[in-house]
């Protein structure tokens, strides 16, 4: 059952085609890791998926909805940097999604505010940020910031979550902690996730599926000439070796 459907997608700036011929479909709840060298259209693909830009050709549909013309509530996004509001406390950053969508003015009524505060505190406790609830993002470490950013994006109740190198700036130890954090959130929410990363290990560890963006043809004299596309679509479940789950009862294995 296809949740995100992408048909014949291509994007051209002036004369340069960045990506072309992308035809994929992603079922609900799948975790897609996107890897590829710099300049191979990963970021362009993400911007199209976010509806930050419109494709030159092709279509993107999320949950059967018509194509989005601007970033909206269907999309949750976490960038590598600048993902939270620097002028609001950690707690208010987590309330912001509810406040923003509550009204045209983006402000909650007094009663709602108290209720949302309580909810946000509970969320903060769950993601281990309760002790910094009233501090500003500038006081937080990189890992804490990204935990807040992911929680904020999920509080917007999006249909898909897009992660643009979310752990790229973190040290290896924090990264592993963040992987567990993300996997746990994913198990709880069943969210459909797209993650761009440069870390292949991370891509295969977290993803159900790994897309490699590359140019099928490289022009030696003009590296920017050809467009990129998804050149490989790996099934990364079961440590990258699919079809290992035995579907039938084999007496051989149980014999010993």
């Amino acid at each position: 059952m296809s949740y995100v459907t992408i048909k014949g997608l291509s994007k051209t700036y002036g004369k340069r085609t960045i990506i072309e011929n992308i035809d994929v479909s992603v079922p609900k709840g799948q975790f897609v890791s996107i890897v590829g060298a710099s300049g191979c259209g990963k970021t362009t693909f993400l911007r199209l998926l976010l509806a930050q830009e419109q494709p030159t050709r092709g279509e993107i549909h999320i949950d059967g909805a018509p194509m989005a013309r601007e970033p909206g509530r269907d999309h949750g996004i976490v960038f590598q940097r600048y993902s939270v509001l620097p002028h609001q406390t950690v707690l208010n950053n987590l309330i912001a999604p509810r406040a923003f969508r509550s009204s045209f003015w983006g402000r909650l009524s007094r009663a709602d505010r108290a209720e949302e505060r309580a909810k946000a505190r509970a969320t903060l406790a769950r993601i281990g940020l309760e002790h910094v609830a009233d501090q500003y993002p500038a006081d937080l470490s990189g890992g804490m910031l990204q935990r807040l950013a992911i929680a904020q994006a999920l509080a917007g109740e999006p249909k898909i979550l897009l992660l643009d190198e979310p752990f790229g700036a973190l040290d290896p130890g924090t990264k592993i902690v963040m992987h567990d954090f993300l996997q746990e959130l994913r198990d709880q929410s069943g969210m459909t996730i797209f993650m761009i990363t440069h870390d292949l290990g991370e891509a295969f560890k977290l993803g159900d599926r790994v897309w490699a963006f590359d140019k099928p043809v490289w022009d030696a004299t003009d590296p920017e000439k050809n467009a990129a596309t998804i050149t490989y679509d790996f099934d990364a479940r079961d440590d990258g070796i699919p079809f290992q789950t035995l579907k039938e009862r084999t007496h051989v294995l149980h014999a010993r």
Partner: protein, 270 residues
């Protein structure tokens, strides 16, 4: 050890900071002494004691004709014009700056216009203001507004454009309307920038104020300075100059403290 790595201690730093002030004072005193030794009636460089005596007279003795202390009247009149002008300019700049910075339609139609208008020398159109608005308060306030608003608008719109685009995208994905983004993402983040820009434009604001007062007024700090110039009353002029400098410095300090107090999340402040 290299000079770029040597740092003065706390005490020495204070001494070093006071040194230039003392040097200027010393040079003045020597010059004043030399001139007074030749001619005790010299008016160009009055002795510091004379200036202090004049200052005391200006601050405390009421005017014989009106019975009011002119010094405080002048101060009040000037500060009122300055405050009005700066407030109007800052409010206008905040609103238009956010508009130009956020909305492509407004940017396309007004950004080139503002940059051209900001090139008009405000003092050159002062006569126009006097002719159109009369010689009263309005034309003086208008000169300050016209003088600093274009700079403030350009600075504000640039600050809005400089905000990371990630924040705009994020707010949109969280369901914020353009108005909500303006109120909760842009406005709080450019307010400290506005205060910083206002601090920078206080210098020009004083310049325009004193220029307008010098040409047509019946009270005000600038008016008084240019009035007593006719009598070579250097003691009065210097008292007023020191007072204006002190006022400007205190205003700047107050704005800096306000910025630090009101925006604790904003680390940088000069």
């Amino acid at each position: 050890m290299r000079w770029i790595n040597r740092k003065p201690g706390a005490l020495l730093a204070t001494v070093l900071a006071t040194l230039p002030f003392l040097a200027v004072l010393l040079v003045y005193m020597i010059g004043s002494d030399m001139r007074l030794a030749v001619n005790p009636q010299d008016k160009l460089l009055p002795a510091p004691t004379t200036i202090l005596a004049t200052a005391e007279r200006l601050l405390t003795e009421p005017d014989r004709r009106s019975g009011e202390i002119l010094f405080w009247n002048d101060t009040f009149a000037s500060l009122r014009r300055l405050a009005l002008g700066v407030l109007i300019a800052a409010t206008t700049a905040l609103i238009t700056g956010i508009g130009i910075g956020m909305l492509p339609y407004l940017r396309k139609s007004f950004a080139p216009f503002v940059s051209v208008v900001s090139m008009v020398p405000p003092l050159a159109i002062l006569p126009v203001l006097f002719i159109l608005l009369g010689l009263g308060e309005v034309s003086k306030v208008a000169l300050i507004v016209i003088g600093i608003t274009p700079f403030l608008i350009r600075d504000m719109s640039q600050r809005v454009i400089d905000l990371p685009s990630e924040q705009f995208v994020k707010a949109q994905t969280l369901g914020a309307s353009s108005t909500a983004i303006a109120l909760h993402v842009v406005l709080p983040q450019v307010l400290p920038r506005l205060i910083a820009a206002v601090r920078l434009s206080l210098g020009p604001a004083w310049l325009f104020l004193i220029a307008a007062e010098a040409i047509a007024s019946d009270q005000g700090l600038g008016y008084r300075i240019f009035l007593v110039r006719r009598y070579l009353a250097m003691d009065v002029i210097l008292t007023y100059v020191v007072w204006i400098t002190l006022l400007a410095f205190l205003l700047d300090l107050a704005l800096r403290l306000l910025s630090r107090r009101a925006f604790p999340w904003d680390g940088e402040a000069l």
